[in-house]
């Protein structure tokens, strides 16, 4: 077999375009002097690279995100800057929205529907829930859009893509922090007697909230690359999340139904956000009540601790699964964006 024939057969196999040569010659003729030629000026030095041969694509997942804190910091500050670009109120928006919501719920639920009866310090009871749901919603919503919103970077730069949902979580935390400070201030003014039990509940509630929100943000950010419907689905769910947690009504109202509707009760309680609200109310709201006799009914579920710990474990498993899913589909992001 002659060399030319061999190449011929190889080419057929490799389905070379029939007019390849023609096209190449055209291109070449058009580009022949498109680039200036600069000749090498001297001999090449040898370069010692002190590194191992590794896979260039990132596989470290969330761990790698926290190793690259400098990049994370830049992306978070970038997202903040971008959010308030061309807005007059700027960061104040993160106060205005919860404040308005608080005002409406306080008046409508508290006074018109009279749900504040039997709930001393109803305002703090309500505001704790608003802070939790606000943080959760912003992480989930922002996280879901994060990969799509950063497609310019995702398509061109190598980095752990988990960095975007994580950045959304930190942005949400940045917005929620002032609200927590306001809440703490009011608690102190109202006479806050912290106990170890309350602190433990607070920690547990925050852990559940953060892991659950991050797991959802990771999972949905990946899904949203493939189907843009998910950002609307998330928004829809978030619209009634306020009614699915005991903040504008006391937990006692839910508890009073648990015998009549055990399945509904358990579904309600399976929501990690609802549990987080309950646990954080145990932290913020319960310690300011001096006289427990003013409370009516059961303010906290009897199995609050067991349920909380189990939920935390479930959320950690969800986070792990979300990470697994994310790593599996991540390789397809650049082509789908």
């Amino acid at each position: 077999m002659k060399a030319a024939d061999k190449r011929e057969s190889q080419l057929v196999e490799a389905d070379r375009r029939p007019n390849a040569a023609k096209r190449a010659r055209r291109l070449l003729a058009n580009n022949a002097d498109a680039m200036p030629v600069v000749e090498a000026a001297g001999p090449t030095q040898a370069r010692e690279v002190q590194a191992e041969l590794v896979d260039p694509s990132p596989r470290g997942g969330l761990l790698e995100v926290f190793q690259q804190r400098y990049v994370l910091k830049l992306i978070v500050s970038r997202q903040l800057a971008q959010m308030y670009a061309a807005s007059l109120l700027g960061l104040a928006w993160s106060y205005v929205q919860p404040a308005m919501r608080f005002g409406v719920y306080y008046v409508v639920m508290g006074f018109i529907l009279n749900l504040h009866e039997g709930v001393p310090f109803f305002a703090i009871h309500l505001f704790t829930g608003i802070v939790v749901v606000h943080y959760f919603g912003e992480t989930w919503n922002g996280g879901t859009r994060s990969i799509w919103g950063n497609k310019a970077l995702v398509q061109k730069m190598r980095m752990p893509r988990e960095i975007f949902p994580v950045a959304s979580m930190l942005v949400a935390a940045y917005h929620t922090l002032p609200q927590i400070l306001v809440l703490t201030l009011f608690c102190v003014l109202a006479g806050w007697h912290l106990t170890w039990g309350a602190v433990a509940a607070g920690l547990l509630g925050m852990l559940i909230l953060v892991t659950f929100a991050l797991a959802l943000a990771l999972f949905f950010s990946a899904l949203n690359v493939f189907f843009r419907d998910f950002q609307n689905i998330v928004q829809t769910i978030m619209q009634f999340m306020h009614f699915l947690v005991p903040m504008m009504y006391p937990f006692s109202r839910v508890w009073s139904q648990h015998e009549a509707h055990p399945i509904l009760y358990n579904l309600y309680m399976a929501n990690p956000v609802a549990q987080s609200v309950i646990l954080l109310q145990r932290f913020f709201w319960r310690p300011i009540i001096d006289d427990p006799s003013t409370l009516r009914g059961r303010q906290f579920p009897p199995d609050m601790w067991e349920r909380g710990l189990i939920t935390l474990v479930v959320c950690l498993v969800l986070l792990y699964l979300a990470q697994r899913f994310f790593s599996r589909v991540e390789g397809k992001f650049p082509e789908r964006l």
Binding site: A20, A32, L74, K156
Partner: protein, 263 residues
């Protein structure tokens, strides 16, 4: 010499989806139209690059050059096969850097440098050099969405070339630059080539590949059909020749004057 890039049997498949909404999908399946189609952008490609080699990657549009570069860069993962690289990778992929349109040139500079592995101190140290090289002056504090395509490419190239990477990827980046800037970039690339950086250079300009590279890879429809290191008697010249004149003999007699005039 140590191995810088090791590509083994790499295949990358793209899915082309024709119908995105449920309604379109339902209509298409009733009409028995295909819902999606697989397409191999890179097909069973293997090669090894030593540290300090300067490799020219050539091929027609759509032959998989950019995809291969994305795989080496780590933006994409291969579906089959494996890619290993040694050291820091910098470069520009598919004409233009990953800039965020709403951020200013300065912010993008910091972010881009950080993603390519530069620390804050390193970026600050090289900041002036990068800005000088890009030569976009007062536009540093303007959002990059207002940049001209040339300015965009200038800044992107300037950041990438200052990263002090072990592997440098240049993918038709300079297509939009003007001639003096292109010249400056080529000189800078020769400079890092001399420092022993592995270079991957994608270009259609034969003369510039000839000057810049000591090895040529030719991709055709995702296949690596010419590797000047593997092919017997292969050379950069041979690769250019291969791409240019290969099947001139089996071309039909229809090679009209118009085409002749082109050459």
């Amino acid at each position: 010499m140590s191995v810088s890039i090791l590509v083994e049997n790499v295949t990358k498949e793209f899915t082309m989806q024709y119908h995105r909404t449920l309604k379109q999908m339902a209509v298409a399946s009733v009409k028995r139209l295909p819902l999606q189609e697989q397409f191999l952008a890179v097909n069973g490609v293997s090669f090894t690059v030593e540290q300090g080699e300067s490799v020219g990657l050539m091929g027609l549009n759509g032959s998989g050059k950019s995809t291969l570069l994305k795989l080496i860069n780590g933006v994409m993962k291969p579906d089959k096969g494996s890619i290993l690289t040694r050291g820091r990778i910098a470069g520009l992929i598919a004409t233009g850097a990953g800039f965020h349109p709403q951020l200013t040139g300065r912010e993008n500079l910091y972010l881009n440098a950080a993603i390519m592995g530069m620390s804050e101190a390193e970026t600050k140290r090289k900041f002036d050099a990068i800005v000088d090289f890009a030569d976009i002056g007062k536009f540093m504090d303007t959002p990059v969405s207002h940049y001209s395509s040339g300015m965009y490419a200038r800044l992107g190239f300037s950041i990438a070339i200052h990263v002090d990477a072990d592997i440098f990827l240049a993918d038709e980046v300079l297509a939009v630059g003007d001639r003096p800037f292109k010249k400056k970039c080529m000189a800078k690339m020769q400079e890092i080539r001399q420092q022993g950086t592995t270079i991957f250079y994608v270009s259609h300009a034969a003369a510039s590949v000839r000057a810049m590279c000591d090895r040529v890879l030719v991709l055709e429809s995702g296949h690596l059909n010419y590797d000047s290191k593997i092919v017997e008697g292969g050379s950069v010249e041979g690769g250019i020749h291969y791409l240019e004149y290969d099947d001139a003999d089996d071309e039909e007699v229809t090679s009209d004057e118009e085409l002749g005039a082109d050459i």
